[in-house]
């Protein structure tokens, strides 16, 4: 393969995608030639604009909805789907044809992520639906086409591509993301966790001064609140042979809570006022109200002297003046709803409220039940209290009940509002003070919207040996369920044990040891295993068999499935196999079944059609 000219970073976000690139030929050490690609996209019928962000929305138009020529893009080969800004605006009026938040669906353990389930509310016979995986392929395909159109002599397939994923993505979602990227032709691909990308971007922006702003023993808490998700990571500053190193020591759970929830909540509050005045809004007007509230909120959060900002819901018809509804958003409402609702000052012992999960009667995203980012953060720090135990140079946890961060890096558009960033810092520092720990400092200068894409392309550059790397490997240990051998008792499930397959912190391109336990696979028949992960059990080694564990320390993931092909074997024959875990160079977990008598390897599928849907 020829030498790549660019290191390309792609932020495949829940609400927006962005692409940044570094020209490797003209970059040298800290002098990095970095830029953002302007992404051509339809902004309305027949109109194509270049924007820095590609909204992650797909619209599946009805054949009679738009003249075919009106959906033309600068490159040929479109398939009639609308993607980006126009999809978002058109989809607001016709939600049954709009695919949004596909990335959250990609990490939804309750659904088959490769079956056509989006948009979830679409009438099945009327709208040809897409799978969450297909949606990712489309977004990446659009970025590829845009890149190839702008760089006809440097095809994206030949560049070093880094695609970011939430730190909280499970192995199956990571694998699907990697597969989607490979489907659109990225051959030199690596995955990078978004909070790490944000930190890389901060390091790059500091132009070498970051070494003065952090010291050994620091624990950097990255709080990334995007449009749809909240992603938490802890990164420790360590030392190796006299040089500063960064080690990612923990990642949080997948929390579906973000800026869009905040805007919706505000619109709900204002709509409540209008309803009290006897004015009722239809679906279209509520969309417009949400839009208006977002602007009003931004104005109020930016200017502390404003007490209220008018919000006007325009009429739908041509009579703009008579038909518009005027109301306002007050500072009191913003403070109460956003600051107290999403960033309340709670003790560090607080935990998110959970509702017992309702039966899967209705297909929907598992949104966080508790809107308080503070409580999710408290739970994360409490759970990770022992995260630095293996590292040299860090205070032992002693009697503290949560891990003490010493620095905070924000990411995501939500923190453009100083009021919210300040409140979050105050909450964290109040916890630290209550534990007699020094206050955490804010790492300034983060680029809140584009940091993930920019950090990703910078990472592609430093991977070639240009600068500091964040180490850490996998942020979970993984286990497979093993039924213990005991006589069957009618009506009782046999107790299950968890066999450790992959230890915590496996680096890319490494293989775990092979545990001695054997599994019997039936040739030609899919065999399912229960699968578990833990973000806190750092000491478990391969082959360890757990009898008991608490629900907090080990999460059950989606089942995995092994199928032995019938080649050279009689169907129905039972073949004893070993299971082995490795982490690919791309950064995905790979499980393989290896027969005891033979040299074959069979891949164990991480993404299996869930048993709840037939």
């Amino acid at each position: 393969m020829s030498e790549a000219r660019y290191a390309v970073g792609i932020d495949l976000g829940t609400t927006h995608c962005a692409l940044s690139y570094v020209d490797l030929r003209t970059s040298d050490r800290d002098d990095v030639a970095q830029d953002m690609m302007q992404v051509p996209q339809l902004t309305s019928a027949g109109s194509v604009e270049e924007l820095a962000l590609l909204p992650s929305f797909l619209y599946l138009p009805h054949p009679d909805e738009f003249p075919a020529g009106d959906l033309a893009l600068p490159w040929s080969g479109g398939d009639g789907l609308i993607l980006g800004e126009m999809a978002r605006t058109v989809g607001a009026r016709t939600p049954i044809r709009l695919v949004s938040s596909a990335k959250s669906w990609l990490c939804h353990p309750g659904v088959d992520r490769r079956s056509a389930i989006l948009p979830p509310g679409a009438p099945e016979e009327q709208v040809a639906r897409l799978s969450p995986y297909d949606a990712s392929v489309r977004y990446l395909g659009h970025l590829r086409d845009a890149w190839n159109h702008a760089h006809p002599y440097d095809n994206l397939a030949a560049q070093e591509v880094t695609v970011t994923v939430p730190a909280s993505f499970d192995p199956a979602a990571r694998e699907l993301t990697a597969k989607a990227a490979q489907t659109v032709g990225f051959e030199r691909l690596v995955l990078l966790e978004e909070p790490q990308a944000a930190l890389y971007s901060w390091i790059h922006d500091s132009g070498g001064r970051w070494r003065k702003q952090v010291r050994v023993g620091d624990i950097i808490l990255v709080i990334d609140v995007g449009g749809g998700t909240t992603d938490l990571s802890l990164i420790a500053v360590t030392e190796h042979e006299g040089a500063l190193e960064l080690t990612r020591i923990a990642v949080g759970d997948h929390i579906l809570l973000g800026g869009d929830n905040m805007d919706l909540t505000l619109a709900h509050v204002v709509n409540g006022k209008l309803t009290a005045e006897g004015k009722s809004l239809d679906h279209w007007q509520i969309q417009a109200l949400t839009h208006g509230c977002r602007h009003a909120k931004e104005a109020l959060l930016a200017d502390p002297t404003l007490e209220a900002v008018p919000v006007v819901v325009p009429s739908r018809g041509t009579h703009l003046i008579g038909g518009s509804i005027r109301t306002e958003l007050t500072r009191e409402e913003v403070t109460h709803t956003l600051v107290e609702g999403f960033f309340p000052e709670v003790p560090v012992s607080a935990r998110p409220a959970t509702r017992s999960r309702a039966a899967l009667t209705k297909l929907g995203l598992p949104y966080a039940h508790d809107p308080a980012v503070s409580r999710h953060l408290a739970a994360f720090l409490g759970m990770q209290v022992g995260a630095t135990e293996d590292l040299l140079g860090f205070e032992p946890k002693g009697k503290s009940t949560f891990l003490h961060p010493t620095a905070v890096l924000f990411n995501g558009g939500v923190f453009k509002a100083n009021l919210l960033a300040e409140r979050m810092m105050r909450v964290v520092n109040a916890w630290l003070t209550s534990d007699d720990a020094p206050s955490a400092r804010l790492l300034e200068g983060a680029d809140l919207d584009l940091a993930v894409a920019r950090g990703a392309s910078y990472y592609g550059y430093v991977r070639r040996g240009g600068g500091v790397r964040i180490r850490g490997g996998t942020a979970r240990s993984y286990y497979v369920g093993v039924e213990s051998a005991m006589p069957a008792v009618p009506g009782l499930e046999p107790p299950i044990q968890a066999l450790c397959l992959a230890p915590f912190g496996m680096e890319e391109g490494t293989q775990a040891d092979i545990p001695p336990q054997e599994f019997g696979l039936v040739v030609g028949e899919p065999v399912r295993f229960r699968f578990f992960g833990s973000s806190v059990r750092r000491e478990d080694q391969v082959g360890l068999l757990l009898e008991n564990w608490s629900a907090e320390e080990i999460d059950e993931l989606e089942e995995i499935q092994a199928t032995l092909p019938a080649e050279n074997r009689a169907p129905g024959e039972v073949v004893p196999v070993h299971l082995r875990a490795s982490v690919t160079e791309v950064g995905t977990l790979l499980l393989e079944a290896m027969p005891l008598n033979g040299t074959e390897h069979w891949k164990v599928e991480l993404n299996v059609r869930s048993s709840s849907d037939s």
């Binding site: 309305s44 019928a45 033309a72 006007v312 003046i321």
Partner: protein
């Protein structure tokens, strides 16, 4: 109906002979310059009195901008209404929609800066050879430059236009499609 384009050889011949004719014949040189300046539509041998050149503004750009202002700021809806029939509060409420949307459109598609950086109300002096299309003289306009006067309006200059690309067979005359909700 038109003749096939001349061959490479005949074009070369034509270029060489015209080269000398342009050098010696000033009238021909002026015509060629006009041709190269984009005046390809000028009839080849139209003799006539020298007239100030006028061109019709390209209608598509106007339609496109009108469409954008309507789409984002309800511009046409607002101007088509009879403001006299409503109270100032009602007009004001609608004006916020128009202002927010049109402001966003303007910022997104144009880079605009003041022609004169000085604050309005200051005395400014215009040297000989100032750009009379960028600065308009008003009031007691007599004498010769340098002119000194009061800056009444700073002026605006568009330094960059970033209009969207348009699909070739898109009907720009529809600045807002009718909407029918099913």
């Amino acid at each position: 109906m038109s003749e096939p384009p001349p061959s490479v050889l005949s074009r070369l011949l034509l270029a060489l002979t015209t080269f000398w004719r342009i050098l010696v014949d000033t009238r021909l040189a002026a015509k060629i310059a006009e041709l190269r300046g984009g005046g390809m539509t000028a009839p080849p041998d139209a003799e006539g009195p020298e007239s100030p050149r006028l061109k019709r503004a390209e209608p598509n750009a106007g339609l496109q901008l009108l469409g954008l202002l309507q789409q984002n700021g309800r511009f046409i809806d607002f101007l088509q209404e009879d403001v006299g029939a409503y109270s100032d509060a009602e007009v004001g409420a609608a004006a916020r929609v128009v202002h927010e949307g049109c402001n966003k459109t303007l910022k997104q598609h144009f880079a605009i800066e003041a022609v004169r950086a000085e604050p309005e109300g200051t005395r400014v002096t215009l040297q000989e050879g100032f750009d009379s299309s960028a600065v308009r003289l008003t009031g007691n306009v007599v004498g010769h430059p340098p002119f000194t006067g009061n800056l009444a309006h700073r002026g605006w200059r568009v330094t960059e236009i970033r209009l969207p690309q348009v699909a070739s067979d898109h009907d720009l005359a529809i600045v807002a499609p009718a909407e029918v909700e099913l």
